[in-house]
C-alpha cells in the first residue's frame, strides 16, 4: 500500500492511494492562495488598481529583461503583483498517470475545485464519487470562480517572472510563489459541465464497489453540506480518509464516527487553519463588530464563499441584529450563484443537522435565511450591477471572493476603503488577510479578522484519534510540528502514541499494511463434496482440490473438471497421518490371505517380515517403509491394508 501526496496545502488536499492494484485519488483541492500573487480583477472600470505603477526596480535589478518584466509586475505599497491572466495552481499531477486512476473520492465542495484539471484532457477514465450536495455546491463554487475570472477581460499572460533566475530575486511574498511554472489558466463553464457530468452521486453509507477489489463508502463529516469522510474497505483491511471534519454543531449533519472505528490506516488532512482561534468566539466577535459598525453609521463588508459558514453567518448575524434593535439593516448577498446557493440550501434537508431537519418535516425551510429573503431583509443579487436601485446604506454586504483578487468585494473595498467608519470583516480562514489586503493599501477602513474554521482543531483531532484507535496514523508533515508562527505552542500538533507516519508534497510513502487473507467463495457443489475430518474438538479440516476461477477481482473455487485439456484426470495428493497400530495391521494383512507374518520389535518401532512374499515392512513412529520385489498386485494389497489402519484426509 502506497500513498502519494500531490498537494502543497494540507487544507486543499490531493492524495493518491495505491492498494490492491487499485489507484484511488482522495480529493483534488485547488490551492487558491496562489491567487494572492496576482493583481485584483476589478469588476467596475476606472478602479485605482488599474492605475498602479509598474514595478520600477525591475530594470534596475534585471537589466534588459527588466523592461519586459516591469510590464508584468505592478507595485503597490512596496509589494509586487502579477498583472496578468489569473492562473490557478492545480495539484502536482505529473507524479501520477491520471489514466491509471480508477476512482476519485471527493469529500467536500471546497476540496474538489481542481477536478476539471484531472478529469478533462488527461486520459482519465475512472469514476468520480461524491455526495449530491458536494456536487451541487462544488459546481456553484466553480461557477463563481469562473464567472469572476471571465467577467473581466485581462488577456495578457505573464510568464517571464516565473523563470527561476528571476523568481528567486523577486521581493517577498512573490518570491515564495509555489511552482508558478505549473500554474494553469482557469477552466471554462463548459469544462465544468463536461467534468461534473461524469461525477456519480452517492449517499452517506452507500457502498460502491471499485472493480470488485475494494468497497468505498462515505460517512458524514459534519463540516459542510454533504461533506464526508471516506472509508475504503477490502474484505480484511479498512482505510479511513478523514478530510475536513467538524465536531462542532453547525448546520450540516453531525459527524458519523462509528464507521471510522477499528481502521488499519487513518489518513488525516484539512485540520483547522486557525489553530489559535475558536470558531464560536469568532462568530460572536463577527456579530459584535458588524453591529458596532452599523451603529456608528458605517458599512460592513464580508468577503465570503457562496456556501458553507456563510449560512451560519446569516443566521447568527440576523439574530444578533435583532437583539441590538437593528432588524431594519439590509443584508446584501452578491454572488453570481447567490440565488442557486440559497435555493439549494433549502432542499438538502436530509443532509442537515437534526434541528434543521425537523423543520423540513413541519414543513418549513430549514435555514432562517429563507425567511430573511422572503421578508426582504436579506437581498441577493447575481451581479453588482443589479444592485443599483435599492441599495441602502448602512448595510452589510456578503460577497466574494474572499481572496480579494476576484469578484465584487474589490469594488466595495474601493468604495468604502477611504472611511474609517466602515469595516471589512474577514471570516474565511483560507487566505492570510494582510496579504489579501496588499494591493488595496493604504486603507482607512477598519479591518477585523475573525477567521471561522470549523474543521478539527489539534486537540479535537487528538481526541478523535484516541477514540477511534486506528492501527496506523498518516498525517501531513506540517501537523507534527507547531505552526511556524507559534513555535512555542507544543500542543498544536498531532500527538499520538502511534507515532504518525507523515506525508508531504512530492513524496510517495509506503504504508505498513500487510495483507494476509483474501476472500474466496466455494461453489456449493464443491462444498457438498468436501468431507471434513474433525481433528480436535471444534477444529476440522478437509483437503480441497478445486479449479480456481477469477472474475472481476473475485475468486471462486469450482469443482475440478473430470479431466484436464490433455485428457488426464486430476489426481489429488493423498494425506495420511497417525501411527500404525502393528497388531491391527497384522490382522488386516492376515485377512488379505497373508499368513506368514513375522514381527520383530525394535527400539523405534518394528520390522514386519513376510518371508513367503519376500517383503520387509519397516514400521517406525510416523513412517512406514515397504520393501518389496516387482510384484505390483501384492504391493497394492499391502498398501491398501496399511491405509486401512491409518487416518486419511
Amino acid at each position: 500500500m502506497k500513498l502519494c501526496c500531490l498537494s502543497h496545502n494540507p487544507s486543499k488536499p490531493c492524495l493518491v492511494l495505491y492498494f490492491k492494484g487499485m489507484t484511488i485519488m482522495l480529493d483534488c483541492g485547488l490551492d487558491l492562495t496562489q491567487l494572492l500573487h496576482f493583481l485584483p480583477l476589478p469588476p467596475v472600470p476606472g478602479s485605482k488598481i488599474t492605475s498602479l505603477p509598474d514595478w520600477l526596480l525591475a530594470t534596475e535589478k534585471f537589466g534588459k529583461n527588466g523592461e519586459e518584466l516591469a510590464t508584468e509586475l505592478k507595485e503597490c505599497n512596496g509589494r509586487v503583483f502579477v498583472n496578468g491572466v489569473m492562473e490557478l495552481a492545480p495539484p502536482e499531477l505529473c507524479m501520477v498517470d491520471l489514466s491509471q486512476v480508477d476512482v476519485i473520492l471527493l469529500s467536500n465542495s471546497a476540496s474538489m475545485l481542481a477536478l476539471p484539471y484531472i478529469t478533462l484532457y488527461t486520459g482519465f477514465n475512472g469514476a468520480v464519487y461524491c455526495t449530491d450536495p458536494t456536487l451541487q455546491i462544488g459546481k456553484l463554487y466553480m461557477k463563481e470562480l469562473v464567472t469572476y475570472i471571465e467577467r473581466v477581460s485581462r488577456t495578457k499572460t505573464c510568464n517571464l517572472w516565473k523563470k527561476d533566475d528571476i523568481l528567486k530575486n523577486l521581493p517577498l511574498p512573490l518570491r515564495d510563489a509555489v511552482t508558478p511554472i505549473a500554474w494553469q489558466k482557469c477552466y471554462t463553464l463548459q469544462d465544468i459541465d463536461a467534468c461534473l457530468s461524469k461525477v456519480q452521486v452517492v449517499g452517506f453509507n452507500e457502498k460502491k464497489s471499485v472493480f470488485g477489489a475494494l468497497t468505498v463508502m462515505c460517512c458524514s463529516s459534519g463540516y459542510s453540506l454533504g461533506s464526508c469522510n471516506w472509508i475504503i474497505h477490502s474484505d480484511y483491511e479498512k482505510i479511513c480518509y478523514v478530510s475536513a471534519t467538524s465536531t462542532l454543531t453547525t448546520h450540516p449533519k453531525p459527524i458519523d464516527q462509528a464507521p471510522l472505528r477499528h481502521s488499519n490506516v487513518m489518513i488525516f488532512s484539512s485540520l483547522t487553519q486557525t489553530p489559535l482561534t475558536n470558531p464560536d468566539s469568532m462568530i460572536g466577535e463577527f456579530c459584535v463588530n458588524a453591529a458596532v459598525t452599523i451603529k456608528n453609521g458605517g458599512n460592513v463588508l464580508v468577503p465570503c464563499n457562496p456556501s458553507g459558514v456563510t449560512y451560519d453567518l446569516f443566521e447568527c448575524l440576523s439574530g444578533h441584529l435583532d437583539s441590538c434593535g437593528l432588524s431594519t439593516v439590509p443584508l446584501y448577498f452578491i454572488s453570481p450563484v447567490a440565488d442557486s446557493t440559497l435555493a439549494y440550501s433549502n432542499i438538502f434537508g436530509e443532509w442537515l443537522s437534526a434541528s434543521k431537519q425537523s423543520k423540513v418535516y413541519l414543513p418549513e425551510p430549514p435555514f432562517p435565511h429563507a425567511e430573511l429573503v422572503s421578508l426582504g431583509r436579506l437581498k441577493h443579487f447575481n451581479n453588482i450591477h443589479d444592485l443599483q436601485q435599492d441599495f441602502k446604506c448602512p448595510c452589510i454586504v456578503f460577497t466574494g471572493h474572499p481572496s480579494l483578487r476576484l469578484g465584487d468585494a474589490i469594488h466595495f473595498i474601493e468604495l468604502w476603503g477611504k472611511s474609517a467608519t466602515n469595516t471589512i470583516i474577514f471570516t474565511e480562514p483560507d487566505y492570510p488577510y494582510l496579504d489579501a489586503l496588499g494591493p488595496f493599501q493604504p486603507l482607512q477602513m477598519r479591518v477585523c479578522y475573525c477567521p471561522i474554521d470549523t474543521s478539527l482543531s489539534f486537540s479535537q483531532a487528538n481526541k478523535l484519534i484516541r477514540d477511534l484507535r486506528p492501527q496506523h496514523l498518516v498525517v501531513p508533515e506540517t501537523y507534527i510540528t507547531p505552526p511556524p508562527s507559534v513555535t512555542q505552542r507544543p500542543d498544536l500538533v498531532i500527538n499520538s502514541e502511534l507515532s504518525p507516519i507523515t506525508y508531504k508534497q512530492g513524496e510517495v510513502i509506503t504504508l505498513p499494511v500487510k495483507r494476509k487473507y483474501e476472500c474466496i467463495e466455494i461453489d456449493p457443489k464443491l462444498a457438498s463434496s468436501l468431507d471434513p475430518v474433525e481433528i480436535k474438538p471444534g477444529s476440522a479440516v478437509s483437503m480441497v482440490n478445486a479449479s480456481l476461477v477469477v472474475k472481476d477481482n473475485k475468486y471462486i473455487l469450482e469443482p475440478l473438471p473430470p479431466a484436464d485439456v490433455e485428457g488426464k484426470p486430476f489426481k489429488p495428493r493423498p494425506y495420511i497421518y497417525g501411527s500404525l497400530n502393528t497388531k491391527a495391521f497384522v490382522d488386516t494383512l492376515s485377512k488379505q490371505g497373508i499368513s506368514d507374518i513375522k514381527v520383530e520389535d525394535r527400539d523405534e518401532g518394528c520390522i514386519i517380515h513376510l518371508p513367503k512374499e519376500d517383503i520387509l515392512i519397516q514400521v517406525e513412529q510416523g513412517s512406514t517403509h515397504i520393501m518389496c520385489g516387482g510384484d505390483e498386485t501384492l504391493r497394492i494389497k499391502i498398501r491398501d491394508s496399511l491405509l486401512q489402519c491409518l487416518q486419511k484426509l
Partner: protein, 558 residues
C-alpha cells in the same frame, strides 16, 4: 413492510427452514380477507451453513391487522420499513408500535417521514371523530411513533443488526416512495412495494442496480396493461398533491423542500421557478362549498367513503352540471365504487340519500408499474426468483408465464395463505491465505485450468483455506511417511553407470514436469522418487525404486 426474524442457528451441520411472510394478493380489497400472508420458506442448503431469514409482512389497514396480529408474535418482528406514505402501507404503524408493542427500528425515507404523520392524523380524525371508532391510536401516539422512525436516504446501507442490512432504492410511486433491498448474509430479497417505471411530470422512474437478489417481490397491479405514454397520466401529479391540499395545502411545501426526490428536469429548473408553488390552488374551507361560481376541489379520501370529499359530493351530486373525477381504484362497498358503477341513488347510514346526477369520470392516475415496467425492473436487478403480489390472479398468470419464458427464472404467485418454498444456493465465502492464492492465481497457461490445492480449516464458524502443509502443522498433525521400495531386475550388459545414464535420460524425457537429478553416488532422484541401480558389469542389474505414497508415480523403463 415488516421484517421478522426467527432464532439464529449457528451450529454446524444443521439445515434450517426459516419462513418469511409476504403479502398475499387482493389486499387492496378490505372486504375480503385482506391481510393474508403467504409463507415463503427459504431453505438454506449451503454446506454446513445456514443463514437466518426474516419474515416479511405489510401492516395494512389497522382494523384488518388487528385480527391477524395474533398469528405471529410481535417480538419476532425485527425491523419495519415503510415503503411510502399511503395509508394502505403505513396506516397501522402507530397501532403496531404504540398499542401492540413493536419496539424494533422503523425505517422511512425523509419525505415519507414528513408526510406520513399528516396522513395518519387525518386517518385518525376520520376514524375517531367521524366514524366514532374506539380503541384507535391517538394523536399523541402518532407523535411518539414518529419519533422512533429512523429516516433513511436512498442507497444508504443500513446495518439493522449484525447480519441484516437494508438499502432503499427510488420507487417513483409517490414522493419519497422506496423499494427495499434486504440482505442477510449471502441471501437477499428486494421488496418493491408500489413502483412506477415511467417518469412523469414530477417524479422520476424507479431504478435499481444489478443487485441480483434471490427473490424479487414485485407488485403486479397492472400485470397485463402496457400504458401508452405518460400523457394519460399527465395530471397524475395533481392526484398525489390532492392527498394533502385538502388538509391545509401543505403538500406543495413538501415537494418544494424535497426537490431532490423528484425528477431530474424539475431539479434542473427549480432555482428559476419552483414548480410546486401553485398559484391557483388554495386550501379549501368548508364554507366554500356553497360559494357560487365554478371551482375545482381536490379533496380526500379518493374513494368517497368519508371525510371532506364525501361532504362535497353530497352537496354537489344532485346537480348535473357538476362532475366528479375518480382518481383511482375504489374498493367495493365505498361510495366511490357505487358511483363508478353508475348507481343513481346512494343511501347513507342515517336514511339520507342522494341522487347522483353529476357526471362521473374515471381517470387512472395511480402510479404503478405496468407489465413493461415490471419486466424492465426484473432485467435490471436480475433476481433468481420472482414473486408477484398485489394483483388479479388471471393477469398475474399471464405475467408469470411471460417472466418464466423471457428470463428463465422461477416465478411464483402465491394465493392467500399459500406457502411457497424457494431454495437458494450460494457460494460460501472463505478466507484464503494470500500466499496460497498468489501462488495459485499467478498467471500460468490461460488455457489450462488453474487448480488450487489447499486445506480448508474449520474452527467454529471460521473457515480458512490455507496451504495443506501449513494446515497440518497448525493442527499438530504429522503426516505418516509411507515409502515403498521396489526392486526391478533388468538384463542388460554394460557397466551400471551406463544404465543409470540411460534411465536418467529417460526420466528427463518422460517426466518432464519434475526435474530429474543425477547425484554423485549414482542415484537418480525425480521429485522424491529415488532410483538406484547396482550390479556388476556383465550381470543382471537390480533397479531399486523408492517412492513415497504421496507421489504414486511409476517409472517405466525399457
Amino acid at each position: 413492510m415488516f421484517a421478522r426474524r426467527q432464532s439464529v442457528h449457528g451450529n454446524i451441520d444443521t439445515l434450517s427452514d426459516e419462513p418469511w411472510m409476504v403479502l398475499g394478493q387482493d389486499f387492496t380489497n378490505p372486504n375480503t380477507v385482506p391481510m393474508s400472508f403467504s409463507n415463503l420458506e427459504v431453505k438454506c442448503k449451503c454446506y454446513e451453513w445456514n443463514l437466518s431469514w426474516g419474515m416479511l409482512a405489510e401492516a395494512a389497514f389497522l382494523p384488518l391487522l388487528a385480527g391477524r396480529i395474533s398469528c405471529w408474535t410481535v417480538e419476532c418482528i425485527w425491523a419495519s420499513m415503510m415503503i411510502h406514505f399511503h395509508l394502505d402501507h403505513c396506516g397501522a404503524l402507530p397501532y403496531m408500535s404504540e398499542m401492540v408493542g413493536f419496539d424494533g427500528p422503523i425505517y422511512m425515507t425523509h419525505p415519507t417521514k414528513a408526510i406520513c404523520p399528516i396522513l395518519l392524523e387525518d386517518y385518525r380524525k376520520i376514524s375517531v371523530e367521524k366514524k366514532g371508532e374506539t380503541n384507535f391510536f391517538t394523536s399523541e401516539m402518532i407523535k411518539t411513533c414518529m419519533k422512533k422512525v429512523k429516516a433513511v436516504n436512498l442507497h444508504e446501507v443500513i446495518q439493522v443488526d449484525e447480519e441484516m442490512e437494508i438499502k432503499a432504492y427510488y420507487a417513483g410511486h409517490v414522493l419519497g416512495a422506496a423499494m427495499f433491498h434486504v440482505r442477510v448474509g449471502q441471501q437477499s430479497l428486494v421488496y418493491t412495494g408500489d413502483y412506477n417505471m415511467t417518469p412523469d411530470r414530477h417524479l422520476g422512474a424507479a431504478w435499481i442496480d444489478k443487485c441480483r437478489p434471490d427473490l424479487l417481490i414485485s407488485e403486479s397491479t397492472y400485470a397485463t396493461t402496457i400504458r401508452e405514454s405518460k400523457r394519460c397520466r399527465e395530471r397524475d401529479f395533481l392526484k398525489k398533491v390532492h392527498d394533502c391540499v385538502g388538509r391545509g395545502g401543505k403538500a406543495n411545501h413538501y415537494y418544494k423542500l424535497f426537490i431532490s426526490w423528484t425528477s431530474q428536469k424539475i431539479k434542473n429548473t427549480f432555482v428559476q421557478r419552483n414548480m410546486f408553488e401553485f398559484k391557483h390552488i388554495k386550501p379549501f374551507d368548508r364554507s366554500y362549498i356553497d360559494n357560487p361560481g365554478a371551482m375545482v376541489v381536490f379533496a380526500t379520501p379518493g374513494m368517497l367513503h368519508a371525510g371532506l370529499s364525501l361532504q362535497v359530493f353530497k352537496k354537489w351530486a344532485p346537480c348535473e352540471n357538476n362532475m366528479v373525477i375518480m382518481p383511482g381504484y375504489c374498493v367495493a362497498g365505498t361510495v366511490g365504487h357505487k358511483v363508478l358503477n353508475g348507481v343513481k341513488r346512494i343511501e347513507f347510514e342515517n336514511k339520507q340519500h342522494v341522487d347522483v346526477k353529476l357526471k362521473v369520470e374515471y381517470m387512472s392516475f395511480s402510479a404503478h408499474a405496468d407489465a413493461k415496467g415490471i419486466m424492465q425492473l426484473i432485467s435490471w436487478c436480475e433476481p433468481k426468483n420472482v414473486l408477484l403480489v398485489h394483483g388479479e390472479a388471471a393477469k398475474m398468470d399471464f405475467l408469470k408465464t411471460k417472466i418464466q419464458g423471457e428470463f428463465g427464472i422461477d416465478c411464483y404467485k402465491p394465493a392467500n395463505g399459500e406457502t411457497v418454498t424457494i431454495e437458494t444456493q450460494h457460494n460460501i465465502p472463505v478466507d484464503i491465505s494470500l500466499n496460497l492464492l498468489k501462488r495459485e492465481a499467478s498467471f500460468k497457461d490461460p488455457k489450462k485450468h488453474r487448480v488450487l490445492h489447499g486445506a480448508l480449516l474449520m474452527r467454529g464458524n471460521k473457515l480458512q483455506l490455507v496451504d495443506a502443509d501449513e494446515a497440518l502443522k497448525d493442527l499438530g498433525i504429522k503426516e505418516h511417511n509411507l515409502r515403498f521400495t521396489s526392486t526391478l531386475y533388468v538384463d542388460e550388459t554394460g557397466p551400471a553407470q551406463q544404465l543409470t545414464e540411460k534411465v536418467y535420460q529417460l526420466c528427463k524425457k518422460k517426466v518432464s514436469d519434475h526435474p530429474s537429478q543425477l547425484s554423485s553416488d549414482g542415484s537418480i532422484s525425480v521429485s522424491d522418487v529415488m532410483i538406484t541401480i547396482s550390479g556388476e558389469d556383465e550381470e543382471t542389474k537390480s533397479i531399486l525404486v523408492t517412492w513415497s505414497h504421496q507421489n504414486q508415480k511409476k517409472n517405466n523403463c525399457s
